[in-house]
Symmetry: C2
Subunit: 351 residues, 2 copies
């Protein structure tokens, strides 16, 4: 016997690489544009005396700002250290059934990591041949449901009517819709939290709001659902949202024009790049997100991945499941960055 | 059946009140002095473009700075969102035995909350009549040990030799020493991490480093221990430490002179207030922390608590266990704040 016998042995999630040198970073779906200058101003004006006190347990002006922005009550709002913190806390809070929770076979690769960590049984639900989620597959008995919309890494969005059908068929489960990428072209089901008390909608500042470095995720749900989530949160760490992040996040939320312009630019770049990739014989699901999940008709993904890396262009590749082994996930950068990628591809593919 | 049947039902930790109006706040052991002006400068100079990228998974320059400052390897260092995050993750990682974990009957009231949340069996170990922890009580079979030094809310410090005796008797358990208040007058057992691979030493920026609002906690242990802790952390949230907090924390760490001056001032104030409280017929264990845990010889704690609150002076009172029902935990503020408290007490007690 040793103390190691009682250690929780897990296989952790492996995040995309964060290179220290200057590269074209299209591997972790970050926003290529900086946050609003209002964030700069807020940090310059910040009174450091505030740092000596514990922050507000509900993320203070950021929590209140989100409630106003999304037109819900503060008690329908939850803020965490990135959407990973929000989702992990939600798994721990809501998924305590003996029945398996359901999520798509190809999806955000943290879901099975959390399920394993907390000993939650789970079933990865098959998708159709075009990576589409079939709503009927989520109508059977289950211990909970989590579906990203748009899905990652496919980028495919589901119609809000289909999402509602899944929620309606599952009154005995908490249904989590992970909308990390929703601002880039899908429709949020946030308004449905007033209709279904078992719906949790999760979003983040890491993608469309240019603030992955600040770690802000949020969830919206019925007052009852948020109360349960808070009870567990307050059983782990009362003060998760530091005052600096709250200040910076609120400033970003306040510059809605800048936010929308940025999203619009990224969407325009994505649509242009789709055409260029198609011309180079790539095929991909029709992304509504800030990345494109593409495979080349003849050249293996790993060959492109490695050659791009040699040129200082980082892309993301998932080894499993085998079905996506030949795909690359390409984050949408600035127009200049995407031009560099396209130039590289043309050269590499001999066009 | 409803979705609520599968909710994790818990009784969360209740943090000390954070009043919104201007009061003399001696209820949550915050530092009365602001962080270093270097923190102000670092925030003013901060390049907001960094916010769009995910932060370093190991708290970047803050993690490295801590390793240097405490003369350990980066791989012996772990950083989290306050010491609550660090401790909760450590409970989940290391306390997976069927045997109960041990901690003092009167101690930080989050320990039993985490144990309940994660279904960890626990035993609250009795203390002697003077609130002292008896090392021999921790020599029996157990699933892990957590002891704060100094203890809270008593403020009593244990000799590092006694702590080492506890560690030496427990090679089959992880022993966590929670040193949240160590800088105010106790001796850290941090150097022992090179001798015992099952020792985890936890500290925080929330008290002695004036940064409760930034949420920085840290742990030190053997490379093996930290690796296990990181595996679980990476199974919950890869990026817990945001870049703003990392930047501010590093700037604070760099101003060691200011930090030491601040601690010295607080200790001097504490020793002076001890004398004044004694003269007013209070009795208390000899605190080595930034608070005094005191009871009056004749006036009930709740009466003092409520009257002080009327005057805008916030103190902390714990209703249970009954043994401490007559004590108040008084954080050490500035000299002016403590003078206001003493003046109030003199008036209230009719001196």
């Amino acid at each position: 016997m040793s103390w190691e016998a009682n250690v929780r042995q897990v296989i952790p999630y492996v995040p995309g690489e964060q290179p220290k040198k200057k590269v074209i970073k299209l591997n972790t779906n970050e926003n290529p544009y900086p946050p609003s200058q209002k964030v700069k101003k807020a940090l310059e004006d910040f009174d450091i005396d505030k740092l000596r006190l514990y922050p507000d347990v509900n993320a203070g002006e950021l929590g209140e700002g989100l409630a106003r922005y999304y037109n819900v009550l503060p008690e329908q709002t939850f803020v965490g250290v990135g959407s990973d913190d929000v989702l992990a806390t939600a798994f721990l809070t809501f998924f305590n059934s003996d029945k398996p929770i359901l999520f798509p076979e190809i999806t955000y690769s943290f879901y099975d990591v959390w399920a394993n960590l907390y000993n939650i049984p789970f079933k990865q639900v098959e998708m159709d041949e075009n990576f589409r989620i079939r709503k009927e597959d989520y109508y059977g008995e289950n211990g909970g449901i989590v579906i990203p919309n748009p899905n990652a890494p496919t980028g495919l969005a589901k119609d809000p009517g289909d999402i509602e059908d899944i929620i309606r068929h599952n009154p005995d489960s908490v249904v989590i819709i992970d909308e990390a990428y929703v601002d880039f072209g899908a429709t949020s089901v946030l308004p449905l939290i007033n209709k279904y008390d078992n719906l949790l909608v999760v979003q983040t500042f890491s993608k469309s709001r240019s603030m992955a470095g600040a770690r802000i995720g949020m969830a919206f749900g019925s007052k009852k659902l948020i109360k349960y989530l808070n009870d567990v949160k307050f059983s782990i760490n009362s003060y998760t949202m530091n005052i600096l992040t709250v200040t910076a996040g609120k400033a970003m939320l306040d510059d809605d024009g800048y936010f929308k312009d940025t999203v619009e630019k990224i969407v325009a770049t994505r649509e242009r790049v789709k055409k260029e990739l198609k011309a180079l014989d790539f095929e991909f699901p029709d992304s509504k997100s800030n990345f494109i999940f593409a495979r080349h008709k003849s050249v293996p993904a790993v060959d492109i991945l490695n050659a791009a890396r040699e040129e200082g262009i980082y892309l993301r590749h998932f080894k499993k499941p085998e079905r996506i082994n030949d795909y690359l996930r390409i984050s949408i950068g600035t127009d200049e960055e995407m031009d560099s990628l396209v130039d590289f591809l043309k050269g590499f593919l001999g066009r």
